[in-house]
Subunit: 404 residues, 2 copies
Amino acid sequence: MAIVVQKYGGSSVATAEKIKNVAQRVGKVFDGGDQVVVVVSAMGDTTDDLIKLAGQVTSDPHPREMDVLLSTGELVASTLLAMAIKNLGYKAISLSGAQAGIKTDTTYRKARIIKIETKRILAELEKGQIVIVAGFQGITDDMDVTTLGRGGSDTSAVALAAALGARICERLTDTDGIYSADPRVVPEAFRLVEIGYEEMLELATYGNKVMQPRAIELAELYNIPIRVASSFNDNPGTLIHGGVSMEVRNKVRSVCYDMDVAKISVLGIPDKPGIAASLFVALAKAGISVDTIVQNSSVNKIADLTFTVTKDQIIEAMKVAKPIAKKLGASDIVADSELGKVSIVGTGMQNTPGFAAKMFDTLSANGINIELISTSEIRITCIIKESKVKEAVRALHKAFEVEV
Amino acid sequence: MAIVVQKYGGSSVATAEKIKNVAQRVGKVFDGGDQVVVVVSAMGDTTDDLIKLAGQVTSDPHPREMDVLLSTGELVASTLLAMAIKNLGYKAISLSGAQAGIKTDTTYRKARIIKIETKRILAELEKGQIVIVAGFQGITDDMDVTTLGRGGSDTSAVALAAALGARICERLTDTDGIYSADPRVVPEAFRLVEIGYEEMLELATYGNKVMQPRAIELAELYNIPIRVASSFNDNPGTLIHGGVSMEVRNKVRSVCYDMDVAKISVLGIPDKPGIAASLFVALAKAGISVDTIVQNSSVNKIADLTFTVTKDQIIEAMKVAKPIAKKLGASDIVADSELGKVSIVGTGMQNTPGFAAKMFDTLSANGINIELISTSEIRITCIIKESKVKEAVRALHKAFEVEV
């Protein structure tokens, strides 16, 4: 008997009716002869509602308390799902992160899983139980509850699949799978049958919100295949795995975008060593995540330094950067919050010239100006005006004839 | 430094604003020089909402799952209160029942506390923390979450007070204290300054909903004084303790009532041994709690047996009792759901004749017929028509000149 780990997202368990639907799906998998471990997220908007509630009590919620607060959302969903499954005549039991043996470090709000003690889960599976695990949460050695950060239930599911030696991790939500582009933007976009870990990781990092990058990295590390599919129909979805066939590897697989980009340019800095360091150390200390960084080639020992942050951090980032820019002797510092990024992703780009040129050409032909470029071996990203992003996605999807 | 245990009811923490109010009250106690442990109930109607949610998923929620589900309400309230207290500049930490060391048996939905391992609480108090404990919940030896039954947070608070050797347990809610009668029924009713455990136990058992009988028993056992007061004002409330002064002990202290009474009479049973047993064993097996039982003196070896249950159990009770009545050769079985009880309570009644006579006289003078009577050493209860209960309470409050 093999173990299947299924993970249901918040939208799949948003109401009692939907929980009953999930219960039936889980039952079918069990009937198919597998042992089943189900990881659930909190119902619908529960997590946001709890964050809002904390915000009404204090402007500065303590991370340890916040984690216990947020963990309750998944406890509620897991117990209700266990009840619904039992109601269908199956044996089922819900386990909290602590009971499931998910041990984490003490980094509240975004704890990392250290190990999973699978004893209890295995014992329950042996008894013929369907095991429902509250996602997104773990426990420290001091028995304090932690949460794994936004989308952490994906990480719970993949980590459990790895620890249990599951044959597959199925991630079921309101999304049908991974698409060649966001179907709301590109009507012709189609579902990919399969995609490699590294491609999926780039997509997730550059705007495809279906899965958290962290969960994909973990799946790659332990070579756990993930099937991303809908909990509302029986479409096969997309298989994320390491064995994607050669034929589909020489193409752009998907076009993704992200509207959440703001840019700061520090202009006319005397170009000497340590300048970038002084700025980015200060930004890091202020808790600001810097994404793309570009420094132009120095002309007459004067350089321009540009970097991007998320939009909600632009004000704080300017507050930190301005005095440093002044101290460094920069001639000016300017911010632009109306940016977005568009990326093409595919292992086919690796060692294959021409993709970048074609991307720039396509954007140019559509009158879209490129502000910044960043690349990996299997991805090219252009930062452009936010207002042009969707147009760019459509143009690129067409130009690259993205294929299965 | 002494320890004070405070318990805040659901209405006291029903909103973010109210939680902030509670935080200030807790802070004041800490400022007064005591170490403070706070037990909280779930916010407002949370518990009822969760029960409703479970009911939408299954008609037969599994007790173990239900307990985890319900326990989340108190976790939410405890973390929010901890945040609010920290926000005022105090050190505070929330603990779940498990973290607070509240060990129970495995009777889900109404677990009994076996012991409290106070190590963690004491360690946190030593660090200068205000400790917030999620009420109503505990943990079994297998680390499964249990709840203590309705009103269980009172039990949590008193048990913690006992285990920690607290100097007092303060129970703060939307009620001002214990009254000589329900002020909504008797406008002249007044707050009692103090009341004995045994009197309070009778009041709680016979209709005063302020505290659960179980918590009072526990307080008496460990001699923990309980101050019942409002969380919305600074009135002194009522002190429940063992040292009530002699002077107030020779009076009726309070008149209480309970509308939730239904009666079943099994008429004309041949009077032989074992009859009551066969009926009440069957009722107990069906989970029906029988309250008052009266059997009239047998005339010609034919007896009538009457007992009361709560109104929500009358249909089930009749279903169980009917076939047994038939088998016993009873001439008839009749139910009456429109009853209530009114009680007078006071240690002064002990060994003092005349209270019962005066009670019956008063009811009779007001044209109120008595259906059944039950008594303890310090209480007399009359079961009467539900429609007459409030009138009876007013008449008795006046007749006995209930005093402080």
